[in-house]
Amino acid sequence: MSLLTEYRPDGTFGEMIDAGQVRDHYRLLADRLAQFTAEDIRQRMQLTESTFRNLGITFAVYGSEGGVDRTWPIDLIPRIISASDWAIIESGLIQRTRALNAFLEDIYVGEHAIVQDGVIPEWLIKSSDGFKRQAFGINVRSGARCVVAGIDIVRDGNGVYRVLEDNLRVPSGISYVIENRAAMKRAFPDLLDTYAVRSVDDYGSMLLRALKWQAPYGPVDPTVVVLTPGVYNSAYFEHAFLARRMGVELVEGRDLVVDDHVVYLRTTRGPQRVDVIYRRIDDDFLDPAAFDRHSALGIPGLLSAIRAGNVAVANPIGNGVADDKAVYTYVPAMIEYYLGEQPILPNAQTFVMWDDDQRSWAFERMDELVFKPVAEAGGKGIVIGRTASDEDLEEVRALVETDPRNYIAQEIIELSTHPTFTGDNLAPRHIDLRPFVVSGETIEVVPGGLTRVAMREGSLIVNSSQGGGSKDTWVLEPA
């Protein structure tokens, strides 16, 4: 009996199978899966797990017992995106990133034209946690401010791709995209063979090109480093991975020193000048002299070096204002305002809680909505009305009422589902997609991205910190 014989989609949009029919671009996969037993897949899962463990492909889960590292969870049934779908996604992502770059330029080095013209209220920008006065007047070469963006996309019940949120500060996940592909090659070489899948392997050079582009005074061969909070950070594997792929040093704050507004590495040969810092720590921890003076992670004097034009950090300071979830509601307006274009990828239907009408409307139908704090990441603080207890609903209602600026509500999107291995068979599980967009001289998108999957039946929570899994994501070459 085939693994797919008993597969029953649950009424949402099925990525692979819809109304009993396998979609065209999945047909080869379905044929191959028909030849596998559950035991075949189990064996390959075990092989993959032990390889990940030996290679240290892990992520730390905060607050879990002893802070142990978990091996990266991958489901070996790949998600496939057709060339035509990808063309839409890719152009939509580039469009969106151009608008977000323009917005950030306007806010930090421009005239606030979007405010002057009444498109976005000034108070909303200034009240955002991610808005940093320290970033005023800091130039970024060619305005490429979203050097690395992770823009989360979901597919609603009609199969429409929608942007759920923008991550413009320190989005993570790209290393797992590449490792998932490597794992698939080991586990199912014969499966990959049957498709023409676009490679994800040259991200290291893509990123290094974009980072070198940021060197503030154009040295011939700028020194780039990756700045990590350290080995205990949940994304440390990725930080080391990116440093390796780019062939640059992975540094911690204590490896850097600022002298006379110039940043240096502490090396065995003495101080060595640094030109570009790809930082994977938040704004507030960058420089204890300029932000949180209690931070032990940062480099005192870094902000002065940036302002003096002696070093560039990527992503630049202050990007958080553009991925604030209340500001997110204005991104389609930004696209129209700055680019004069219609958004290719729509947002999810969103209600801002500072608006009295929208708030009271939302409170009347809490069970149809999901409530989110505007500045959190990793699924923190999210309350899904339908499944929340009465106490949770009461609590979030109180939170929203005390601080309406910092909450939004969204229609619950019934995320599309994808066949996923449960240990015994294939069952539908909800998925999303985090593609990665890199801005430098041009804007490029890594084909595919990280497909995250909610491993629990019916769950809509895909975050890996909350038990989500992942899938290799195949973008097909155009026929």
Partner: protein, 314 residues
Amino acid sequence: MLSRHAEGLFWIGRYVERASDITRMLDVAYDVQMERPPSAREAVWRDLLDVLYINDQFVDHHDTATTETINRFLVLDGDNPVSVASSIVSARTNIMNVRDVVPIELLESINRLHTLFASGELGAELETNTHAGYHMVATHCRTISGAMFDSMARTDGYRFMMLGRYLERAEMTCRTIEVTRSVAPTDDAAWRAVLRSVSGLHAFTRLHGALAEVDEVVRFLLMDRDFPYSVLHCLSECASQLSIVSTTGTWQSPRMVGRVKAEIEFSDVPSVETSALAELVARLEVGIRDASQAFHDDLYQFGGDATLHSFEAL
């Protein structure tokens, strides 16, 4: 190279060497005590604890030294900082901290050894077949060494790792000599066991024959130029690694290593039956420790401190 990376690589070299050395000593002691009458077996284990300076800590946790308690304390006990398990955990912590500059083969081999401990597999093996358990660890350590030799470019990172490895080994050989000298200075069998614990019995016998005197063994362990566990050989390795790394030009550690190397290279080796040997070995141990400290100071001469380790004596 980042100073922090240099330090991490140095300590990976030291910890892997420590795990490997202790395992080999355990294997030999296990073998030796089996040939002793039951009443004399505990003394063999006690001598090993003396080499590692941890007799006092052992007594705090266990009443008698048997194969079982020794394995628990010296191999598996993660709370004992000198156990093989602790060395492996420390090596792994350090490699995670420098994973961007080491080859994946090295990371993988250390992770595999770590898994052997963490999974409980080694503990089970030691209970059913102690010798096979030691052998597993030793084989893993050789795989790690192989990964160092075969997959690392001969750049400064490799040299710092070798520096750590040979400093650790020089210190271990010194201690083994010192303990054997104090408990069984003229016991042929005891010195043969020492040679075995540094994989040197065969090399020594080929060179000096099976009838050689104890003083010959001591001279071999201290100053044979070609034997990879002799103190002189180890310190020569350290000196040559340090002579080719790129530094600020103001480092002190090359001078310190040179000094302790000269101490052994140009001295007469005193007889085991005189106190002069004890004094020589003590001077060597101090010199080795000073060199290690000087290396650390060199790395951070421009301020900052990335210490992940304690510099306390083993």
